[in-house]
């Protein structure tokens, strides 16, 4: 044990000469864990919403038509369907910000029975008159309207106690502009269709969901969760690549130390156990940091994400994060495994190191040449996938583009890390500021890739 501590001390004190690499290693693991764990949280929210929306669907709603890939359907879709003889009602549905109220926009003319069916004091004519006078109307139960206080003051609020609590209904055009969703709807309610209409939906992106096709709905939701999982995985990969590079460099400096330890007669196993022990400490520290970061990031993004998810699944998500000790442990475990994986090459290299040997310079040179040709290939690949992702509807091209961009940034990263590590000590601070600044960019990236409301 005493020997282990002695060797561990030597191994750890190597970082004294490689402070830059240490910072990058810790940051790399922390960032990777942050991204992974925050996306995991988001994912859990999604799964919750998904379950609820499927339940909602199963509780016998009217059949609805939604888009396979987008969280909304468009005016064009509406026109196409109508021209093909489908009778549908457009609906817009979203949670009202900072409240548990769902706001629903419907076509008053087509769908008025929802609000005026058995209302005595508000006859239909009366109601049309108010519309015609340019008033924006909003219907809700007494309780719901009370909750609103003076929000949405440009609407004329009409009490209607037949509506369930927590629901507001307005005319579709006014709700569209309220939610910044001009020309977009959440879904179409399917009423029926003329006999001679084609029985497949004409814009191919649309899908009719009724009791028989609830499974398909599940499938769509899964593809979305897969998408963000994949994004989480890619970002984890980037973080771990940072670790891979910085540890690789830090370990190159360790060659000498490990060689000398071996010449002195320190057992190989003891050296490896110390290296692993050191990694364990680093992973524990940075992993905790990262999980905490993930929690903060998820909390920051949650309102937006909840919005997105709610619209996507027509089911409001609660604003609470589900956090548990197990979740924290799993994040740590993932951080640990990632670190081990990222460092395994460096450790194996040290393990193979014989105490008396020359460095093979030629090998290093040929590796450099390889890197250059691989980078060239990657750049071509990225351009191609970018071209496809904008010029065609092949969805996978988007994903490939994202993937190869990330791989390329991985290829460029070592340069930055090297630059940083060779900087004089006093510049560290400003560089760190830069790194934290770029975390803002990361946040925007997450925004960008979560489907827009």
């Amino acid at each position: 044990m005493k020997q282990f501590l002695l060797v561990l001390k030597v191994i750890v004190s190597n970082w004294k000469k490689a402070k830059g690499q240490l910072i990058f290693t810790i940051l790399g693991i922390a960032i990777a864990t942050t991204l992974w764990s925050s996306i995991d949280i988001v994912n859990n929210q999604t799964i919750k919403a998904q379950k609820r929306s499927i339940d909602l669907l199963k509780s016998a709603f009217k059949p609805i038509i939604i888009d396979r890939e987008l969280p909304y359907v468009s005016q064009m879709d509406y026109l196409h369907l109508r021209l093909n003889g489908w009778v549908i009602n457009p609906v817009i549905k979203a949670p009202l910000e900072d409240s548990d109220i769902t706001i629903i926009g419907i076509d008053f003319l087509a769908d008025r029975n929802k609000i005026v069916s058995s209302q005595n004091n508000n006859s239909f004519g009366n109601f049309l008159e108010m519309q015609a006078n340019g008033n924006e109307l909003l219907f809700g139960s007494n309780e719901t309207l009370k909750k609103l206080k003076d929000r949405l003051s440009n609407f004329v609020k009409i009490e209607n106690d037949q509506l369930p609590n927590g629901t507001l209904i307005g005319d579709i055009s006014s709700i569209q502009s309220l939610l910044n969703m001009e020309g977009k709807f959440t879904y179409f309610e399917y009423i029926n269709r003329s006999l001679n209409s084609p029985d497949t939906l004409s814009p191919k992106n649309l899908i009719l969901i009724d009791d028989n096709s609830a499974n398909e709905f599940e499938f769509i939701s899964e593809s979305f969760t897969f998408n963000i999982r994949a994004f989480g995985f890619l970002s984890f990969f980037v973080g771990m690549f940072i670790v891979y590079t910085s540890v690789g460099m830090a370990y190159d400096q360790r060659n000498l130390t490990v060689k000398i330890l071996k010449t002195i007669g320190v057992e190989r196993r003891l050296i490896n156990v110390s290296l692993a022990g050191e990694l364990f400490l680093i992973a524990l520290f940075s992993g905790s940091l990262g999980s905490f970061g993930g929690f903060l990031l998820a909390r920051e993004l949650l309102p937006d994400i909840n919005n997105t998810i709610s619209t996507l699944y027509n089911s409001p998500v609660d604003g609470e994060l589900d956090l548990s000790f197990t979740w924290f442990l799993i994040s740590l475990l993932i951080a640990g495994l990632g670190t081990l994986l990222a460092c395994s090459r460096a450790i194996l290299k040290l393990d193979k190191l014989s105490p008396v040997n020359f460095v093979d310079d030629e090998k290093i040179y040929s590796r450099k040449k390889n890197t250059i040709s691989i980078s060239a290939l990657l750049i071509i690949f990225t351009c191609a996938s970018y071209y496809f992702s904008i010029s065609s509807s092949i969805k996978i091209a988007n994903f490939l583009f994202l993937g190869s961009t990330i791989v390329i940034s991985c290829a460029i990263l070592p340069l930055f890390i090297k630059l940083f590590c060779h900087m004089p000590q006093k510049n560290y601070q400003s560089a760190l500021l830069f790194v934290f600044g770029s975390s803002k960019i990361l946040r925007n990236l997450v925004h960008f890739f979560s489907p827009a409301t």
Binding site: Q3, N14, I260, G265, R268
Partner: protein, 223 residues
């Protein structure tokens, strides 16, 4: 009975490189007896350091055996090999091989602490004798060549080996320091019965040791 600490038997070494194979020596036999001092001389590049690495168990011979006592070194498990090297040998390297992330004091104490022969008083004496007291907190990289060499010597001495291998231990030292170091080496050789193997280019140093061998034309000859 075995009268040696380390014995090398029919040892040959060939390096295979891109430009062909380089045969350093063939069928070398040497027995290093307890409390005896040896000098190994020979031209530069002839393979003295390599022979020393083989004798200390650091490098595997191309053929032949190395015995630590009765044990055939290369037939042992690697953990056992490490243990033997740690406990029975110490090497003063031609390139010093100080651990860069430890300061002078930690470097000197390292092997002794790992092999559990750490003795504060003894180490303090060594440090004073080698006039390193002033440098204890320094990093190896900030020392001159001669200072680094003295630290390497101190580390080897502190480990109290049964056999001490020294690869040109006075190569970077002035005459006065060279004499001092040689005196110390001979002193522990007598006082602690430590066998001493010294590679040197200086015939005057070689003459102060009990046996002198020369590596020449792939053979080791007694002089």
């Amino acid at each position: 009975m075995h009268e040696h600490i380390v014995k090398i038997k029919n040892v040959s070494k060939v390096f295979v490189t891109k430009s062909g194979s380089l045969e350093l020596f063939t069928n070398v036999n040497i027995e290093f007896a307890p409390s005896t001092s040896y000098a190994l001389i020979g031209e530069s590049g002839v393979g003295k350091s390599t022979l020393l690495h083989i004798a200390s168990g650091l490098e595997k011979p191309s053929s032949g055996e190395v015995y630590f006592g009765k044990q055939n070194f290369w037939g042992l498990k690697t953990s056992r090999q490490s243990l033997l090297r740690l406990n029975e040998t110490a090497i003063i390297f031609q390139q010093y091989n100080l651990i860069p992330c430890l300061n002078v004091k930690e470097n000197i104490e390292f092997q002794a602490r790992i092999n559990r022969k750490y003795n504060r008083k003894y180490i303090k004496e060594i440090i004073e004798d080698l006039r390193l007291t002033r440098l204890l907190e320094e990093w190896p990289e900030s020392l001159s060549g001669g200072e680094q060499q003295r630290v390497a010597i101190a580390r080897a001495l502190a480990a109290k080996p049964k056999i001490l291998f020294a690869d040109e231990p006075t190569g970077s030292l002035d005459e006065k320091n060279s004499e001092l170091v040689l005196e110390m080496l001979l002193n522990i050789n007598k006082k602690y019965n430590t066998s001493l193997v010294v590679i040197t280019h200086s015939l005057s140093i070689a003459s102060k040791l009990e046996q002198c061998m020369e590596l020449k034309s792939r053979k080791v000859l007694d002089r």
